[in-house]
Point group: C2
Chain length 253, copies 2
Amino acid sequence: MAGPAARAMKQSEIVARQIVAQILGDRLAEGTRLPTERAMLETYQVGRSTLREALRMLESRGILSIRTGRDGGPVVRRPRASDLGEAMTLILQFEGIEFAEVFAARQALEPILAGLAAEHAEHSELEELRGCVDRMASSLDESAVFHAENLRFHELVARAAGSPVLELISHAVEWVADGIAFGAVDAGFSQGARQVALTWHERIHAAIAAGDAVAATAAMEGHLEDSREAWMSRYSDLTQRLVEWTPLTEAPA
Amino acid sequence: MAGPAARAMKQSEIVARQIVAQILGDRLAEGTRLPTERAMLETYQVGRSTLREALRMLESRGILSIRTGRDGGPVVRRPRASDLGEAMTLILQFEGIEFAEVFAARQALEPILAGLAAEHAEHSELEELRGCVDRMASSLDESAVFHAENLRFHELVARAAGSPVLELISHAVEWVADGIAFGAVDAGFSQGARQVALTWHERIHAAIAAGDAVAATAAMEGHLEDSREAWMSRYSDLTQRLVEWTPLTEAPA
């Protein structure tokens, strides 16, 4: 019934899959040019319009980008978390969802990741977390450095959870929240807010390092509830602001 | 730094946003044809190549589909959970992630949704859940009906959680898992497995109806752990099977 494999594939879909298999099989790096159209027609033994349909399908899925101009043609692109974030943003915009809901999803997801991190973090991941917290502590006066380390901390916790699917989802949600936030507000923290965030991060790190999943979950919950309140009181219009897509084409490689 | 609004938008991106705003503002239904190119050039006051770039951008994001042929042109499309599922599948395939990880993500997400449903479900949602469980009970002999109601139950729980963002994510993960599952295995349940699933669904429903978040979370955890074990013992190769994209173009509207 629902599954994508429930019907026969079109010729162009089969070719699209073969091209993906080739990109992966040959470990083609991002930016690698695909063979010429003539060579691909030969390889896949299909008509020109079928091949073009396959390439267009791959382009729309973010697996190829088609360069225009004299030296143009399809080049390999790696699908990434921001693609997922964009797709999510658009669906939420079409459904008329408020920003507060994105924050609520973060509040549900990140504590789970913190709990999983306490169970799964490897030694090197704990070291990285420690380093990140230390750099936050020493950059309380430098808003930009502090902010970068702040984002990094949440990424490291997600990584340490050892669930690539949840990590990906969390990055996408983060991306959606960040996009709205950066579009809407000054991302700077006050010095007081930086101190509060640091204290929470230290607590979360300590719980993860101790392998205490319950404490790590609770600390992440506390941290996010705290920052939600701070945000909402500082930017009260954000609560009702609707999710809105900002197109983001890529800088030419 | 990271946010999409951190750089100035290109002209085509501004037009793309304006077109989205118009689709939403005018509540254009899926399948509605956009104005002619000439009319849009007039409306947006840009050059033809800028407009075409904007339309192509929207097509690649699933907001328009461009019909070919004599009666062709851009028509409105609604971005949906399966788009997100597809984007997720591709990223996971490029990262070489195993199917077991998708199941693990479901196991982390759905218990949270069940817990939230116990706190937020409205009367009408409880009725729907009840009806779904009843239909499962009376279709223990009909594999297809039972299977459809089984999927429906999980969708209803996600809806009742009252978090549109988590609901969307859960649908996308479900879509990824289903796609792999349907491609790989016979989706039928044995009669014994149907009875076990029904018993879990009854328990989950009872906990949600009682407003008991802890019990609902635990019951969903038990249900998913049970079905994971059943799947993995029945289809042991699934554990190591990698996530793989199946292209899915849409049937013409």
